[in-house]
């Protein structure tokens, strides 16, 4: 356990080396979600109805800020590129000699990175929350809030296994950035980062809900806002759990096959 804790701490130390860039990164994430919030505030002000697509202006601002926080500081701060790079440049060889499995190192580093960005990103968001305080909606109940926190942890795990599966393809292809970029692009919209999925036409909604992305942002924010009754949340978690376990097994399979044909190219 001490070994994992050391890896976890190391990520935080590394991240703090370039403090200015880190601060600007936080600012950049905040700006991204602010843009979309401003857009929606303007739409609501110009609209004739108070509720659009089942969301009041307060719910929409809360949704977008929460979605921005999750997207910027949990979903896009992943360490998966490191996996690909280690395989491509041969640094995986060094990792294989260490007393922890490289896969475990990547997993702990990813969680460390996400925790680091989320905690410090949240502190930056306090200013934004203050700025939009008249719109913000509190969680529907304490139960919803606790389930919301749990859903973010599950989202972090799901994101890791999803992108790690793509990164591990580096055992066979020379560059995995293209596929990771494409899936990230899909994740942003289909996950509900810029708009609740209920705004899309029925046919698209049905299609999007079949994919794992909706568990990353749309589900946590729906739980927070009480758009799902408490007794239905466990079923949603169960479905998400199936995705997580399925992807984790897929990861193990790819890792086992990949490591057998690893040729340790590089320096």
């Amino acid at each position: 356990m001490t070994k994992f804790w050391s890896v976890f701490k190391l990520v935080w130390i590394e991240r703090l080396v370039y403090r200015v860039n880190f601060f600007l990164e936080i600012l950049s994430g905040i700006l991204s979600s602010l843009i979309v919030v401003f857009l929606w505030v303007a739409i609501y002000r110009g609209a004739t109805r108070e509720v659009i697509g089942g969301y009041s202006i307060g719910e929409m601002v809360t949704y977008l800020l929460g979605a921005g926080l999750i997207y910027s500081f949990i979903l896009t701060t992943a360490e998966n590129p490191e996996t690909s790079q280690s395989i491509q440049d041969g640094t995986l060889s060094t990792l294989l000699l260490q007393p922890i499995s490289p896969y475990a190192i990547w997993f702990v580093r990813d969680l460390g990175s996400k925790a680091f960005f989320f905690i410090l990103g949240l502190s930056g968001y306090v200013v934004v929350f203050f700025f939009f305080r008249q719109y913000l909606v509190l969680s529907a109940s304490l139960g919803h809030l606790l389930f919301f926190l749990l859903s973010m942890i599950l989202a972090a795990l799901l994101q890791f296994f999803l992108f790690e599966a793509l990164s591990l393809l580096a055992f066979w292809v020379e560059n995995t950035y293209g596929i990771r970029f494409t899936v990230r692009v899909i994740m942003e919209v289909v996950g509900g980062a810029i708009i609740p999925l209920s705004f899309f036409p029925q046919i698209l909604q049905k299609l999007f809900l079949l994919l794992p992305f909706s568990y990353l942002i749309y589900l946590p924010m729906r739980i927070y806002l009480g758009k799902i009754p408490l007794d239905e949340v466990p079923l949603e978690f169960l479905k998400e759990g199936v995705w997580i376990v399925g992807l984790a097994l897929l990861n193990m399979m790819i890792w086992k096959k990949g490591i057998r044909q690893y040729v340790a190219m590089g320096d």
Partner: protein, 266 residues
């Protein structure tokens, strides 16, 4: 004119090299193009989803917002193909590692080579469908614009490119004094996205910032309004004037930056 044709030939050569370099990883090349097209398609659905629920954003109708969206992407792709990554990301790294030395001894203008050294052909192939999308938006607008409006639109698009060149150059030049301008470039990338929305969405302080301080209205809103004939002629002059000021400042700043270059390397 000789100088111009020489630089044109060099630019075409850089494009050829760029294509060869990027085609090395073919699956990656095609996957990136697919990713960029999917992004554009999904953002189109995003606007469509909004207009399923409301009729206007500010004063903008659906077709007008689509024009703004298409215009923004045309500009965004053009800068990505040419100077954006070169200046915002490659130049700071070259300054930091001292790689800029090798560019300084070349018998070409330094600013030209650092701006266009690595052309991005992935974005070129994503740019072509966005041109088609712009054509579709013109069709939706029933081509209801005069030749004068079309010329003003084209000129303001070119103006937007020069404006963005100046802004990105200013950000990149900061690297001569700090090793951490990468974060600034990331912030600018996010700010740039504001250009795809009607600026009516901002109010008070922010509206002033995005019109006068960092006039992102120049990127897509002003060209689109020129085509839609909803722009006062004063704003056209404002657009060209602001770009001129930014460009002069950027070039002077760049010269000062070059004088401060320490050629620090390993």
């Amino acid at each position: 004119m000789d100088g111009f044709s020489r630089y044109l030939k060099l630019f075409l050569l850089l494009i050829k090299i760029g294509l060869m370099r990027q085609m090395t990883y073919r699956p990656h090349f095609f996957m990136m193009i697919a990713g960029k097209l999917i992004r554009m398609g999904l953002l189109f659905f995003f606007f469509q989803a909004i207009f399923l629920k409301v009729h206007r954003i500010g004063e903008w109708t659906y077709d007008q917002v689509l024009l703004l969206f298409a215009t923004f992407h045309i500009v965004d792709y053009l800068i990505s193909i040419t100077f954006h990554r070169n200046l915002a990301f490659h130049l700071p790294r070259r300054i930091q590692t001292g790689e800029l030395d090798s560019r300084m001894v070349l018998p070409v203008n330094l600013l030209f080579i650092v701006s266009f050294e690595e052309t991005d052909l992935i974005d070129f192939f994503s740019f072509l469908p966005s041109l088609g999308f712009l054509g579709y938006v013109f069709y939706r607008l029933e081509f209801a614009f005069s030749w004068t409006q079309a010329v003003a639109y084209a000129l303001l698009l070119v103006n937007a490119l020069f404006f963005l060149f100046a802004v990105v150059l200013i950000i990149a030049t900061i690297s001569f004094w700090t090793t951490q301008s990468y974060g600034l470039a990331r912030i600018f990338d996010n700010l740039l996205k504001i250009g795809r929305y009607p600026l009516d969405i901002f109010e008070g302080f922010w509206k002033v910032v995005f019109i006068y301080f960092l006039p992102l209205v120049l990127i897509a809103q002003i060209p689109s309004q020129a085509l839609l004939e909803t722009l006062s002629p004063d704003y056209v002059l404002f657009a060209f004037g602001v770009t001129g000021v930014f460009l002069i400042f950027a070039l002077v700043f760049w010269k000062i930056g070059i004088k401060n270059y320490l050629s620090a390397s390993t």
